[in-house]
């Protein structure tokens, strides 16, 4: 069976794609020769429909490749297709989309996690050489990687170019990657990192040999265990599995110590206010004129734009536009938006201080294993948001993180989260590979 036939079979069983390539085309050769790369739907691929999981972008056909996609092609990769996601990344379970809702390969009654759900599902079940391009704003790589039992890397903010990404929140969005193993994910990270003339926020720091880091022993690595990440709301079974992983790092000679990040509990509110404020400005451009959903040109421009936007955006997108617009309005801006940005500074200071004493932090990626769809349907929006309590702080600070499979609870995969200092991807990969190997 060909790779494309296999991809269609995966899609049929697990609903992981919004689009499967018509042909696998690779030019040139390099580090990704023979590898099929799937791309999250919010990252543009030339000639493949790219909707970011939203009806408002229905039919949009990018005339160019995102920089990360172009870098993969230069190394010999073929693009496999576009993987499903929550609309614009607005979700934790990949259920907020009018397109495919992916099923967890370990139990199809459970969520794959989100928002990069399709990417994690394809990574978990692909029986051919495959790597996934994913994207995180507040945990959208780590969460599905944890729920599906794969490795998901979110790099330092600015390590990878965002050119060609359909933005959610510009100060938070990071394009990252997934693989079955730490070494696989590290390989793709090394390909997609680095400067880009189209994105002035990309960091020009040298790119380490991430693959080589995946083979180094953990001996001597200073590992901090933040006590705030094992508290209330974190399932005991998940905690136990992650402690087991930390113990195995210690057995390999890592120097493990308890640390504290006191502003952790405030990061969720700070994150959501900032993310929604930025999202509400980014989503202002969808108005049915240049791309995506169009309606017949009727009424005044206010009436036309409102009609397109009301028809095109889903429930969660509307909620976030309203919240984000509110948080930026005169009279509320200081209390919400600016306050959130000041608290973000506090969260960043937490990380900077703790990384003076440790190289990496180890914690559970998610407070629970993948929930069932019937459980998700019962959740109020605020309860959805609270599922992100462990992933938002490092995302808010822009430090790198990787979720690595660490064991099981209730028969479902549990991810251990390794977080590192700015541009500390090397140590982070080294620690994650040690957890994986043990």
């Amino acid at each position: 069976m060909s790779v494309l036939e296999r991809a269609h079979r995966i899609n049929h069983r697990y609903r992981a794609f919004n689009h499967v390539a018509e042909a696998l085309e690779a030019e040139g050769g390099g580090r990704l020769t023979g590898v099929a790369v799937s791309v999250k739907d919010n990252v543009c691929v030339k000639g493949m429909p790219s909707t970011a999981g939203s009806k408002v972008l229905e039919g949009y056909m990018p005339p160019f490749d995102a920089t990360v996609v172009a870098k993969c092609r230069l190394e010999g990769a073929a693009i496999l297709g576009k993987t499903t996601q929550d609309e614009f990344g607005f979700g934790t379970f990949n259920v907020n989309t009018p397109y495919s809702v992916p099923l967890n390969p370990r139990d199809p009654e459970r969520s794959s996690g989100g928002s990069s759900g399709g990417a994690a599902v394809v990574t978990a079940v692909a029986d051919f050489p495959h790597l996934a391009i994913a994207e995180s704003t507040g945990g959208s790589i780590s969460c599905p990687a944890s729920f599906c039992g794969v490795v998901g890397i979110t790099p330092t903010y600015g390590r990878t170019s965002r050119w060609g990404l359909i933005d959610y929140a510009n100060s938070l969005d990071k394009i990252g990657c997934m693989g079955k193993t730490v070494r696989d994910a590290a390989l793709l990270l090394s390909v997609i990192s680095g400067p880009d003339v189209y994105d002035s926020t990309v960091l020009h720091a040298p790119i380490e040999d991430y693959v080589a880091q995946a083979g180094k022993p953990a001996e001597g690595l200073r590992v901090g265990v933040p006590r705030e990440y094992f508290g209330e709301g974190v399932d005991q079974g998940v905690s136990d599995v992650v402690w087991g992983g930390v113990k195995r790092l210690e057995d390999q000679g890592a120097d493990v110590r308890e640390v504290s990040l006191p502003f952790t509990r405030y990061s969720l509110s700070s994150y959501y206010i900032i993310a929604m404020a930025e999202a509400s400005t980014n989503l202002a451009k969808y108005c049915g004129l240049r791309y995506g959903l169009h309606l017949p040109l009727e009424g005044s421009f206010d009436e036309y734009f409102s009609a397109v936007r009301s028809a095109g955006f889903g429930d969660e997108a509307k909620r976030r536009i309203i919240l984000g617009t509110y948080a930026r309005m005169a009279g509320y801006r200081d209390a919400y938006y600016l306050k959130a940005l000041r608290v973000r500074t506090r969260v960043i200071e937490d990380f900077r201080r703790v990384y003076r004493d440790v190289d990496v932090l180890a914690a559970p990626t998610m407070p629970v294993v993948a929930p069932r769809f019937d459980e998700i349907a019962e959740l109020e929006p605020i309860q959805h948001y609270m599922m992100d309590i462990l992933t938002v702080a490092p995302n808010l600070a822009g430090v790198p993180m990787v979720s690595v499979p660490c064991g099981e609870s209730d028969g479902m995969p549990v991810g251990l989260h390794v977080m590192a200092d700015y541009l500390g991807e090397g140590d982070m990969i080294r620690a994650a590979a040690a957890v994986e190997a043990s």
């Binding site: 002035s200 960091l203 502003f263 004129l289 309005m329 948001y385």
Partner: protein, 86 residues
């Protein structure tokens, strides 16, 4: 409140949506107010996670090769065609 914000954001909501969002937003905004506990006196806001450095390139013109009208259904004579401005 929600109706006013929705108008500013160019969303026309149904009565059901207005009522539901009003109730949900109350709960969410109430939860967000926990930020008031944090002393941020004299703390600068972080618009970005990392301090960005200016990046310069040679000031050289290059041609935009993509057709900006390619994805639009509303176009005429090489222009976008928009709704009436009144």
């Amino acid at each position: 409140m929600v109706r006013r914000v929705a108008e500013a954001a160019r969303l026309s909501l149904t009565d059901e949506e207005l009522e539901r969002y009003e109730q949900q937003l109350k709960v969410i905004l109430e939860a967000f107010r926990m930020l008031d506990e944090v002393d941020t006196e004299g703390v600068e806001p972080s618009f970005h996670p990392i301090e960005l450095e200016d990046v310069l390139r040679e000031d050289k013109a290059s041609k935009w090769v993509w057709d900006p009208l390619a994805n639009s259904m509303h176009k005429e004579d090489g222009y976008f065609r928009g709704p009436r401005i009144q």
